[in-house]
């Protein structure tokens, strides 16, 4: 599914992994400490008369760091690496369109972390529901 491609993209960028190490997680309780990146994948099933396709997605990336001043550079690195995926194929998924819709400040009390929530609109080649 798309989550694997998301982790591949982030893990392939040494500018990001040099900050978060292996602290990349699907959405959970935000309890893995800082620095870290959490992600949420939202599928937006697409329909036309020929049938359905899983091509439209909204992906939320939450960056978390110890202090506010280091959170924005990490978030902008995430934005940059996603912006570069347009037209590329990751695994067997082609990213036909990638657009960052918003970057919003976030504070997580549970881990005392500062960060941003990045919302991406992504279109891909069809992903089979069985994969």
């Amino acid at each position: 599914m798309l989550g694997k491609a998301i982790t591949s993209i982030i893990n392939a960028d040494s500018a990001i992994t040099s900050i978060i190490g292996s602290n990349l997680y699907p959405v959970g309780d935000y309890d893995k400490g800082t620095p870290a990146i959490y992600y949420i994948v939202k599928a937006l099933p697409h329909y036309n008369n020929n049938g359905q396709s899983m091509t439209d997605w909204q992906v939320e990336i939450l960056t978390q760091t110890k202090d506010y001043s280091s959170s924005w550079p990490l978030s902008l690195k995430v934005k940059e690496t996603f912006d570069k995926q347009r037209g590329k194929t990751v695994g067997d998924i082609k990213f036909t369109a990638v657009k960052c819709l918003s970057i919003t400040d976030e504070y997580e009390f549970a881990i005392n972390g500062f960060g941003q929530k990045l919302v991406f609109e992504i279109k891909t080649s069809t992903i089979k529901s069985t994969s």
Binding site: Y47, N48, N49, N50, G51, Q52, K94, T96, A97, K99, K123, S125, K128, S129
Partner: protein, 160 residues
């Protein structure tokens, strides 16, 4: 109030028919959204003096046309079971009068199945030329509104 089952627009599609009788092949146009099938009617006016001051009309030349909104599949998508934009573009360039079938479809066997005509319901068949401009808006899917110019008769096939 009577209870009626209303036909749904997404169940009406356009297919290209090829092959010979008994072994026809039907390929739906890919990424179909809205289909409009229009019949052109021309009437000839009668101005006879014995009509009491009223007009009368007689049927003139008949014609038909259709438009199909289509989401254009990516060039890397090689599904040969459906008619791609490149196929239609080829027909436009060559002036091919393909045979078009306008019909209701059967229930899909699976989410990845290709739509198939429901041969138990009325359908319409005719030859037509195509024109397919391309629209590529920023931030949305590339689409086309295919214009099918009908040639000669649009034949109604009614299995009932």
């Amino acid at each position: 109030m009577s209870e009626r089952v209303i036909a749904h627009g997404s169940d009406f599609m356009v297919f290209e028919r090829s092959g010979t009788e008994g072994s026809y092949t039907y390929k739906p146009i890919a990424g179909q959204r809205n289909v409009s099938l229009n019949r052109e009617a021309n009437y000839r006016e009668s101005n006879a003096k014995n009509l009491g001051g009223y007009k009368d009309f007689f049927l003139g030349l008949k014609g038909w046309n259709a438009s199909v909104e289509m989401e254009i599949p990516d060039y890397d998508d090689t599904n040969a079971n459906e008619l791609s934009y490149e196929d239609l573009e080829g027909y436009e360039t060559a002036g091919t009068k393909a045979t078009w079938l306008f019909c209701w479809i059967t229930a899909m066997a699976s989410t990845s199945a290709t739509p198939a005509p429901d041969t138990t319901k009325p359908m319409w068949i005719g030859k037509g030329l195509v024109n397919c401009p391309l629209s590529a808006p920023t931030g949305d899917n590339a689409t086309t509104s295919i214009a099918i110019q009908g040639c000669l008769e649009l034949e109604r096939v009614d299995p009932t």
